[in-house]
């Protein structure tokens, strides 16, 4: 089930700005893969290239061997790619449940006409997915908020709602952009447990961008470090954390000392 993701010499340019330069790496099915690097290194842009929001200026992106660079995000989503956004983007005036249900879009059968005449199979599916969404929220400790408008939730909680929305898509490849940002330490632990469960229970390949090195170390099988759009190194989290280039460019000397 879990997807395989391969990037080959992906480059991206905006006007004169080189955002990504020849980035290549491969994520094996079922891996939890980390993507780290300083601010503006191009991590989110790389996600955008994978999810179809940006079209790489050069290089190939393959999911399960199929070239997908240039494909539209909606198409990719239908083929099992889900992602969260660095800055949570919810429908603020809708309830949390409705927000999460959005993730079910591709799983709901029927065209516009069928929904307009309310064919039984449409609302049966709706009901089933509603139940599933509630359960998902419940499992992520957000059940209490299901019927609140999203704007009544604080910033940190939006992250959780976004995660649920992505999970309801039943993806095979999940891209998480800084899921731990703004979470207190205790919540990060919960998040780690959740993501681990994703792999074991749901058989999903996960790519995570995160500045929380604790989380990266605890969770990832492998990491790629980006700097100025280029791959600086690839290896395990531990290798990365002790790589002098990474310390220099990213973690900072003192921080590394602190951690040691």
């Amino acid at each position: 089930m879990a997807a395989e993701l391969t990037l080959q010499d992906v480059s991206l340019q905006f006007g004169g700005i080189k955002v990504l330069q020849d980035v290549s790496f491969a994520v094996e099915p079922g891996q939890i893969f980390g993507l780290v690097g300083p601010n503006g290194a191009g991590k989110t842009s790389l996600f955008n290239c994978i999810s179809g929001h940006y079209k790489p200026t050069a290089g190939t992106v393959r999911i399960d061997g199929t070239e997908v660079q240039g494909a539209r995000p909606a198409t990719l989503a239908k083929h099992g790619l889900a992602r969260t956004f660095q800055h949570p983007a919810l429908q603020l005036h809708e309830t949390v449940l409705e927000n999460v249900l959005l993730g079910a879009h591709t799983r709901l059968p029927g065209g516009a006409l069928e929904w307009a005449v309310r064919l039984p199979r449409t609302w049966r599916a709706e009901k089933a997915l509603r139940a599933e969404a509630l359960e998902l929220l419940e499992r992520n400790d957000l059940g209490w908020a299901a019927h609140l408008p999203a704007d009544e939730l604080s910033h940190g909680l939006h992250k959780g709602v976004e995660l649920c929305r992505a999970l309801l898509m039943k993806p095979r490849l999940l891209l998480l952009d800084e899921p731990a940002a703004g979470l207190p330490h205790a919540e990060v632990e919960t998040l780690i447990a959740t993501v681990r469960r994703l792999r074991t229970d749901d058989d999903i390949t996960v790519v995570i961008v995160e500045h929380h090195m604790g989380l990266i170390a605890a969770l990832t099988d492998r990491v790629v470090v980006l700097d100025h759009g280029a791959k600086l190194m690839e290896g395990t989290a531990a290798e990365a954390q002790s790589d002098p280039r990474v310390i220099e460019a990213y973690i900072g000397k003192d921080a590394a000392d602190d951690a040691a």
Partner: protein, 236 residues
């Protein structure tokens, strides 16, 4: 001398009351932290101070009751609020954002110096000086938001998760810089921070909010020593 004094502050969004008596005080040139779980009311506390949310209780800044003032009036008192999330003006360039930060200042020379200071602090911004703020990466936007706060040369800075989305080394740089500002320019700080390790490098005292109330208040050292704080906010 206390610079900012909150006493029994309440606040609500429409009918939903989210602050239920928050009390804290920031001394002149002091640095105070606010910790708490998601949704505890940290952001709301800062909003109550800066006048973006309707508040009850007493909010006194420099001897003056500022509760009920409009945000720009509060800013004019010398309080800079660096909001959570994308606190930038997306359609303005980086430089224009910085100039907006300096809106209340008249010293041209000082402004130019501070622009340089910010750009030195965040070299990323120097590279993107003519870009629209909305094109920046998440972390770069955060840098810009903090820089805007610095540009306004306030007497008190309200920092809402200033390290959000910043790389570890950058986050550390930011806190170093803030600490320096505090020492060199005498700016007082009220910081909300999830990265408590980082926060404790700056603040002298901190308060922990729980469902809109002070659950604990103490000096950094005291708090760092407490088990439940370690477990919830510091790790290990």
């Amino acid at each position: 001398m206390t610079l900012l004094e909150l006493e029994d502050v309440t606040a609500s969004y429409g009918p939903v009351q989210v602050l239920d008596g928050v009390t804290l005080s920031v001394p002149e040139n002091g640095a105070v932290g606010i910790l708490g779980a998601n949704g505890a009311g940290k952001t709301t506390t800062l909003r109550a101070i800066s006048g973006t949310v309707r508040a009850g209780g007493r909010i006194v800044f420099d001897g003056k009751d500022i509760r009920g003032m409009r945000p720009d009036q509060v800013a004019a008192q010398g309080i800079a609020h660096v909001p959570e999330g994308r606190g930038t003006l997306g359609d303005l360039t980086v430089r224009e954002n910085l100039m907006v930060g300096a809106y209340l200042r008249k010293d041209r020379k000082g402004i130019d110096e501070d622009v340089d200071y910010c750009l030195d602090l965040f070299p990323n911004l120097r590279e993107r000086i003519t870009s629209n703020a909305s094109a920046l990466s998440g972390g770069e936007q955060q840098m810009l938001a903090v820089s805007r706060g610095i540009m306004s040369k306030p007497r008190l800075m309200l920092l809402d998760e200033a390290s959000l989305g910043l790389a570890p080394s950058t986050a550390k740089n930011v806190y170093d810089a803030i600490r320096r500002l505090r020492v060199e320019s005498g700016i007082a700080m009220l910081v909300v921070e999830q990265n408590a390790n980082l926060a404790f490098t700056l603040v002298d005292t901190a308060t922990v909010l729980e469902t809109g109330r002070n659950a604990l208040t103490g000096s950094s050292a005291e708090l760092k020593g407490m088990d439940e704080i370690r477990r919830a906010y510091l790790g290990g």
